[in-house]
Amino acid sequence: MNFKSQRVAYPYFVVALLLFALQLVMGLYLAFNYFYTVPQAVVDVFPFSTARAMHTNLLVLWLLLGFMGATYYAIPEETQSELAWPKVAWAQLVLLTGTGVAALVGFLFGWTQGRPLLEIPSALDVLVVIGALMFLANVGVTILKARRFTATQGTLLAGLVFLAVMYLFGMPFYENLAIDWYYWWWVIHLWVEGAWELVTAALMAFMMIQLTGVDRKVVEKWLYVELGLFLFTGLAGTGHHYYWIAAPKYWLWVGGAFSALEPLPIAFMLIDTWRSMKDSKRPQPRLTWVYVIGMAVLHFVGAGLFGFAHTLPQINYYTHGSQVTVSHGHLAFFGAYVLLNLSFFYFAIPRLKGFADGRYDERGGHWGFWLTSSAVVGMSLAMAVAGVLQTYLERVQGQPYIVAQSPMRFWMLIVFLHGLLVLAGALLIIKHLLTLRPAPARSGA
């Protein structure tokens, strides 16, 4: 840490980690509902739908708070100047966390916009927009005042503006359900396969430059190529969500062709990260690389391979809206965005705490990574088995939904058991990150 105002990143990380734990608890309750018959009296008061709204909104909230904290850490380094308004950054955290908590409590009492992932009611949407504007203004003014422009911070800012603008498309009420979903995907798809990938690429480039000492020019040259591939495949690739919404048939061709190419930029990022690690001129804690490479690998498997498996319309006709989607969604979000945030936390927190060379005591941290990651992989595989059963029994054989769900319940129990391990691993990670200590002095050094 070279700038005092970078400190504001830390409370963002803390809030994000606490919300992460709460998100996992809600997820366990959802899995529990799949294999255990929750009595009518409980369902009437706290239905699956409410728990799901909480699970997904917590996910989005903590990932975004993590991105924002990471940005507040990175921007002073990139501009070589203090943040324009550190106090506004604090106020923004209070506002967004307060809005999030109000939304979660509101869900319990049925206060909802009722659209998956975008359940936050319009009144609270206004507060989210105010928070986003505070954030973008703070970052934008810092960059303008410093007058030092880099491709990395340009990408980061572009990704964040793109992210904020897309949120607006999720706010209105659409009368026509097909048009509603058309623009719902402008938020969700263009976030996770557009704006968030930009943020990811920028934060990865930032970390690579700092971690490895590889020449900025080289890192940023590959950043352009990576972004070009991400946006080329991701923008028109939105079409893979338009197959069955009452949109014209050409989306089957466009969505299928472009989204089939979506694994390419992720593979590119994986190779690029691997090469940077090999070319690294600076020794780093082993755990830092475990996270960075773990993220690149599971990003590729979860988003790239699991996504590709059911993106072609001939397959998607049978798998669409089944547990196959759930399986892909969990591994992709974990691999791409959960691990990105955790990688960045492991990068930034030792530096924020002023440990020499950003080195820290890794003991305990490795367990957290391997337990959580292997449990999420196992969970996604169990969801995939349930999804294949559903696809065959309900979609191909035509069995009634509830009859087809019956043999899936065992696999959702397996999902739940893996979920317990995910929670245990995540708690280890959270505890390790929040109580990070300097590296023990090396003997004989």
């Binding site: 026509n176 069955w244 009452a246 949109a247 089957l252 035509g398 009859v403």
Partner: protein, 238 residues
């Protein structure tokens, strides 16, 4: 690769994909009215969509395949279940799913809200979305029913029991649910002709029954189901 070439890849890749995407978005908007039968999308349907959102239905159910995956897809629910069965589920889920292993919350909908939701589901059921989902497709899996019958792998009545999802409420062997009576025992009390008439209008023969009407089937199809159900009871006593 030079930095210049890298920047060229970025701009050409991004702008070409963006231009295609925005162009098709414009064209798609011209097609939505016809594909979604927007002429039938009246104020009642819109009111139904509001009810659908206010009660957060979409975080358990999918519709057009999007949403929670915890409950059946609603795209063709109106056609699949018929209006009676939809109304029963909306008004009294605790009765409709009394013996199911998965419950639906009692949301205390007003009669007007139920009417509007039915309007909404009726409209959604009619949109042209390339015949998705497969399980409700007349041309896809009902074709597999025809193949089973054609290959004599199943009697026509058994095929219809499968096609009309009777086992979503009734049990047969170790399959199906226990909301309605077990299919094997029905004909220990009733004959095939009675069952066929009952399928056409359950309320006429048993007022207060929760069984939906199957008046969408032809008389011959109802008779085939009735004869299949009757055959299950042979040799059984009530």
């Amino acid at each position: 690769m030079s930095e210049r070439a890298a920047k060229l890849i970025f701009w050409v890749g991004t702008l070409s994909s963006l231009a295609l995407f925005l162009g098709l978005t414009w064209d798609t908007h011209r097609s939505f009215a016809a594909l979604t039968h927007a002429d039938k999308l009246d104020a009642n349907v819109v009111a139904g969509k509001h009810v659908f959102e206010n009660h957060n239905c979409n975080d358990c159910h999918t519709i057009l395949g999007f949403g929670g995956y915890y409950a059946p897809d609603l795209t063709r629910a109106y056609k699949r279940l018929g209006e009676d069965a939809v109304r029963l589920r909306l008004a009294s889920p605790e009765k409709a799913f009394a013996s199911s292993y998965r419950k639906m919350p009692q949301q205390h909908l007003t009669p007007v809200e139920i009417d509007r939701l039915v309007d909404f589901l009726r409209w959604v059921g009619g949109i042209d979305n390339h015949d998705w989902p497969p399980q409700d497709s007349d041309t896809r899996w009902k074709a597999s029913t025809r193949r089973l019958v054609g290959g004599a792998a199943m009697s026509p009545g058994a095929a219809l029991v499968s096609q009309e999802a009777c086992l979503a409420c009734h049990a047969l062997g170790n399959a199906g649910e226990h909301r309605g009576p077990r299919l094997e025992y029905i004909a220990t009390r009733r004959d095939a002709d009675w069952i066929a008439r009952y399928l056409a209008d359950p309320q006429a023969l048993t007022p207060g029954s929760t069984m939906p009407k199957f008046d969408n089937l032809s008389e011959g199809q109802r008779q085939a189901i009735a004869e299949f159900v009757a055959s299950l009871a042979e040799g059984r006593t009530p």
